[in-house]
Symmetry: C2
Subunit: 490 residues, 2 copies
């Protein structure tokens, strides 16, 4: 397309912003911080939702729905939670507007709420207040519930998908009879997220544990998956929290155990959001536009006929009809782009911008030769192949593309994960190439904050696969037992 997008090299941030808009994924709305997710972007999100939802159900979870509003007082019940979430939020104070007599619509001061309502930034409080009524005995446990919902966290600086005031997400909230079971659930759902990221988004992730400083407000333990974007910055793609008995205590949720004893219920929560859309775009796309892994592409194959007259168009149309039917029977989504209003070159650029994994072009010479031209979006390679066995070939090609995209991202991440021994080396790597920097740290919040202040790098996680390794903290020289993963992050 002539109106190209800024290259990643020129300005990665600008490239992303332009790509999201030009590929028709999302745009800013008239409401500060709130985005409009356009049909093409939403179609990708729907594919993500469907895959995740199935994984949640396969692991025994059901969906439910809890109120959008949370009474202000609920936030005060869990001490650390209130600090984390009750600050920047949307506050509903009134429930009526009125005409002021001179034609203006104004807030009706007589309709002031006794207690303000907060638009949910996350739902632990309202859900645990509800669970209190659902749980009496161990027989009522576990509760394995998920919610697909919108949430609001007031943000001053917003970026489409990555940081918006309103976003869409899912939040799982489970209740268990034992600490062990809740911890297992926390780990299980991290596994689901990692599986989804790697096998659907083609996004390699590091499974890890957050430091105390980076934990979810109200959690005893936060597990996470961390991914690397093409500009060398990390992105947290999902979190799973072991909440201990904090929320059960805050909302007085006890159960009678098998042995007759009364105890507080154990909790987890876990979530991923439309932020994943940002990760998907930033991890794989290029200067020509989106690169979508086939499993999440709303259109997996586009067929563009190239003809000079109605007769040629009809001949190619016949081939296309057969091919489309074969592809659809294999569950492959396909678009036949025979618009008269645009030239083939324009169409090629448009579908490239939109990240359709496979493009098939068919012209009159192809019809004579019994061939078509196949173009791969990920490698931007083309080849002319026989029309015979085409549907099978495409089915295999889509699988190959899914793997190739994953392996490219994995190669990039591996090349950009560096072990360093000194603070100078640490800072040089961060400045010169970015990426994940694996280094020893003395385990204190003070040092963690100091490093963040001095370098803007945060501890993304303590990888679960970490091996014990004696060393010294890069910043303080104090002893350390293992490396942690630092990065500058979204």
């Amino acid at each position: 397309m002539s109106k190209g997008i800024t290259s990643r090299k020129t300005d990665y941030s600008q490239w992303y912003n332009e790509l999201v808009v030009k590929a028709d994924l999302a745009e800013h709305s008239a409401v500060r911080g709130c985005m409009v997710i356009k049909p093409y972007g939403y179609a990708i999100w729907e594919k993500m939702q469907a895959a995740l939802d199935k994984m949640f159900k396969d692991t025994g979870h059901s969906n439910a729905y809890f109120p959008l509003f949370i009474p202000k007082s609920f936030f005060s019940k869990e001490a650390s939670h209130v600090e984390g979430f009750a600050t920047e939020c949307a506050v509903v104070t009134h429930y009526r507007l009125k005409n002021d007599g001179s034609g203006n619509i104004v807030v009706d001061e007589e309709a002031k709420l006794e207690e303000e309502l907060i638009v949910r930034p996350t739902s632990e409080t309202i859900i645990w207040n509800t669970y209190k009524g659902w749980i009496e005995s161990y027989r009522d446990l576990p509760i394995l519930v998920n919610q697909w919902a919108n949430v609001v966290r007031w943000e001053m600086r917003t970026r489409l998908f990555l940081r918006t005031a309103e976003f869409l997400w899912q939040e799982g909230h489970t209740a268990h009879a034992t600490r062990e079971e809740a911890m297992e659930e926390t780990a299980r759902m991290l596994g689901v997220y990692a599986d989804f990221a790697e096998n659907w988004m083609a996004l390699p992730v590091v499974r890890g544990r957050k430091t105390e400083n980076e934990r979810f407000a109200g959690a005893l333990d936060t597990l996470c998956i961390e991914a690397l974007m093409q500009d060398g910055k990390a992105l947290q793609a999902g979190t799973s929290h072991f909440l201990g008995q904090n929320f059960a205590k805050a909302f007085d949720v006890k159960f009678t155990a098998k042995d007759g004893k009364l105890d507080y219920v154990w909790a987890t929560s876990w979530g991923v959001s439309t932020r994943l859309m940002g990760a998907l775009i930033m991890a794989h796309s290029d200067d020509q536009g989106l690169v979508l892994p086939p499993k999440l592409a709303p259109i997996q194959v586009v067929i563009v006929p190239i003809y000079k007259n109605e007769e040629e168009r009809q001949t190619i149309g016949g081939l296309a009809d057969t091919l489309i039917a074969e592809l659809k029977s294999k569950g492959i989504s396909v678009k036949y782009d025979d618009r008269d209003t645009h030239r083939p070159g324009f169409k090629f650029a448009e579908w490239e911008l939109k990240g359709v994994p496979v493009r098939i072009a068919v012209g009159t010479r192809d019809m004579e030769n019994g061939t078509v031209e196949i173009a791969r979006r990920d490698t931007q390679t083309k080849e002319t192949v026989s029309q015979a066995g085409l549907a099978d070939r495409i089915e295999q090609l889509l699988e190959t593309i899914q793997h190739t995209i994953y392996e490219k991202a994995l190669g990039f991440r591996d090349a950009n994960t560096v072990e360093v021994e000194t603070y100078d080396e640490f800072k040089r790597v961060l400045d010169e190439q970015g990426g994940f920097v694996s280094a020893h740290w003395d385990g204190t919040v003070e040092t963690e904050k100091l490093i963040k202040e001095e370098t803007k790098a945060t501890i993304r996680c303590i990888p679960l696969a970490n091996k014990e390794e004696a060393g010294v903290c890069i910043r303080t020289g104090k002893p350390s037992t293992q490396r942690v993963l630092f990065a500058r992050a979204y």
Copy 2:
């Protein structure tokens, strides 16, 4: 179950309220007017969503997502819309809470919004403000978009599913180049709703047109489907609006037509909500609990083994395994209830309460005889049948049940749709049996309002299938050209 529910005869309203809660469909939350949709209730809603979503996509629509918040000033832009929707609503006035120093969380007065935000009661305004950026020429049309979302309309008296401050719905918003195309779309989506109500919910509906007085705020024409509940009250189950150019004019959305002329865009909107859950429950259920049409039942078949010892349990379990596999391969959802903690009688009552269409009981004598006992939830009949060919038999039975439920509801509606000629007869029918009352009306808003004041009956619709028929208005005696359908309504 020993803790039975109030019978419909004793108190229909109470019966409904108890049923919704005892069948684990929904409950009131700590937030006034907002409900919690519990997993079993949400599973039914998910089935509704999936069926509707497929119908929307099959008719060319895509999903998208627009902001939860709408700037207050947007409502003032369409004159009749502001009166209809900008009154009872949730108003966001601040974006921050703070600690007041003595440990209380209070609204931060320094974080007051310049312009208040309204939590969307419906999205015409924010969507048409967005469409302005999407539409330049006839080539950009039609736009066929749907949104699944939560909306809020402040309600003083709420009832689970039927009237809640927050509810879930879908809202379609389409943009067209011509009046005719928009009107066709309005009719098409009414057809989709009627199809869904009848073929999925087993709910016969009257397709009709609202009177001017009952139209959607901002619409030129509102089509609707109206259903009859068992207490003789009507329930509006879906609406489809032809909005003319009202919102295009309010938000200045013009397009260049093929002939080069500039014109305002034509609009429709259409929606159904979690209110359908209320309709589903009230239309079919009985004093023993829910009666669910098989197509929307989260669990279609429950198998209850009846055994005295582990050996018997194992033998029955073997049969169950095979049957479950066969049923699942037919796409039938099945639950094997072998809980040790409850007796068969308890389980029977529980699944009856939850409306599972088919219950299979298998005891030791059944195993000896090669039989099982099948109980139908809708008719509450039982029969003992051979284990041979059981899966096929159940598949057919589910289809029979779906039809039977529909036909029962249709019979009820037909028996409770009465033509009357005089106002006395009109009032007597309303008081003695309720139902739809077909009567002549002079066509004026004044008479419509007068009848409503005097009888609490409203004009549900002017049926689309109406035949022309000269008559006189039951209230004023003035001439009328056709009958309209009155009822007391939810």
